[in-house]
Assembly symmetry: C3
Homo-oligomer: 263 residues x 3
């Protein structure tokens, strides 16, 4: 069975762009199996895409090829890269969208073997002309090293994803992502929080904007409708939500808003 | 060929949630074939989801496994259930989302065989940790009875979906759903209407909000652009629309709005 | 391997409509392979759909069956047609949505072999009752001529897609489509522009609304953030965008807005 190809783009779902990538993939590798991770990354939102792919790739079978095309620099001299992470492959522009994956990456290649590309290569749609055909060839068995020459991981573009800062009994973090439900996802992970409270999560206090939340909830509906909850989400990150509500909209809090966790 | 798995969620299409479910399914059952019914149920809108799955499941081949994750109670003690409906399987939270299917259900199980789950099971994303792996095992041939113990259908949560009320020559119904085009879908079915008018549908009169519509149209464009039409839709329910327009927006009518059908 | 089926509709992604079509296709042709081109054509926007399918179909493998259901006339006497274009098949309503494909079409059939349809055929959802089962039968090997009788291509409905008008050294065109990023796509193709400037694209001047843009950019980010760029897009059409911005929203320019290209 051919490996899976996942697709993550900011192409949206009203034009032909995502579908055309699939057409090219199927033309080059008829047995390809494709899964949309999302095509609704906000236009050019490399930061959100970086978190989405980092949270998702590990749930796919080994051998999966993950294609990420959030690529405002398309047509410029930014590189296209292929990362090996264990037995997963990540094909993406070198613009920081792989920042959270680099610590786990074992090898990196610059994708520049133009024999693999759809010709002529446009300057505006490398998803169609480069990413799709290269992914198809990889799915059909092309060895990663055939896409181009190996490059040093330290040469890759990294976006800042600051870790929370500990100051005595307090972790100072921030909102780093907002999900479809309006939940505010922070950069404070469960393990760091557990160290702070020696595993007594009910002792923790979360302060965000005007809110103080006491204790970590086990589930979104642990409080009454509309009440704020703090919990560790499916990415194992501290998250603030409103029970059956939209925290980002109703609290008017957003990205980079400070979050303090203390005992 | 492995059975189909359909997916119906309120996860939206901008985060990794739906894609991660597919990754887990493919990891457990590589030959799985998946169809998105929708991931755009409004957050927590169990009522809309109940109507969508009831309208759709029967058009899929026998053996299909339908996964519904509109689950505001995730992580609480709400049960997860597996229903047999003829040769279809429905995997869903026990929160009323299967209300319209229960009359057709022949057997029900509580899903509690944790050997099937992705471990550790989170309290926030059972779509990934329970629904996806259980669906994958079912697609790969696990017998339904292996998901947990059988439970009595009368113990399942039911949402109220009131039938229209007949009062002399008038059926009093209500808007129960609104589709993507803004059409107002009522709870009045074609059969009940046919009895009212002895099959002479052109004799019927529909009153909704400020509108009176005479006669049932055969098609959306039977009237001039912008004119209201009443017809029986693809679910065989009475529906009020505006020819080439959006009735819900333009008439400012919504869910639970009364609709009277008379001769 | 069965041929691909692509789906292009205005059904949106919150109701069961697109999923039900896939259920019907899989019921009739279990080995069918389906790719969503888009289900987010704006309701009844035949003009956008015509451009999407024309831009996309050629990137799919030969033998692909392209199903287009943007069909405000469903249930009226508008015809359903099957076009052969090389080794591609297009199944669509005869409402102009195939206008841009007709010059390349080699044969056309009216789809009226009701033995292929899902019975009873509704008047509101031919996507489910006609398009899906017919596509499934074609994917499973039904010859095109079996869908109905051949018809003369000149009898098919055509929407006006005017070509740009040359006046001396100036091409007068217009915005004919807007993409997800807000880029303004014109009806001026690269070849016509090349003739105007004898291949010296840097000599060209684009005037649209209050803007004058000198020279054609190679890529979206060739200017600074927020600056306007004119380039030839992945459809080989002149397009005006804002670097990392949304031209349609920020410039308040839209469909049919005049665009002048001169040297």
């Amino acid at each position: 069975m051919t490996p899976l190809i996942t697709l993550t783009t900011d192409f949206g779902l009203r034009d032909e762009f995502a579908g055309v990538m699939k057409g090219v993939i199927c033309s080059r590798c008829p047995a390809a199996r494709m899964v949309d991770l999302t095509h609704n990354i906000a236009p050019h939102d490399v930061r959100h895409a970086a978190q989405v792919i980092a949270a998702a790739y590990g749930y796919f079978p080994g051998g999966t090829i993950h294609v990420v095309v959030v690529d405002p620099g398309v047509g410029s001299d930014r590189r296209i890269i292929l990362l090996e992470i264990g037995d997963h492959l990540i094909l993406a522009p070198d613009n920081g969208v792989t920042s959270l994956l680099l610590p786990r990456s074992t090898r990196a290649y610059e994708v520049n073997n133009s024999d693999l590309f759809l010709q002529p290569v446009s300057t505006t749609f490398h998803g169609r002309d480069i990413f799709a055909p290269v992914a198809a060839h990889l799915a059909c068995g092309l060895p990663p090293a055939a896409v181009g020459h190996e490059i040093a991981p330290h040469s890759l573009v990294r976006l800042p994803f600051p870790a929370p800062r500990q100051d005595g009994d307090t972790l100072h973090g921030a909102v780093s992502d907002i999900d479809h439900f309006g939940n505010l996802i922070t950069n404070i992970d469960r393990e760091s929080a557990g160290r702070l409270c020696s595993g007594n999560f009910h002792n923790l206090r979360v302060v965000i904007g005007p809110l103080t939340i006491r204790g970590i909830s086990p589930a979104y509906n642990a409080a009454g409708p509309g009440a704020p909850v703090a919990l560790f989400n499916s990415r194992n990150l501290l998250e603030i939500g409103l029970c059956r509500g939209n925290a980002a909209l109703e609290l008017q809090l957003g990205l980079d808003c400070e979050v303090c966790l203390s005992i």
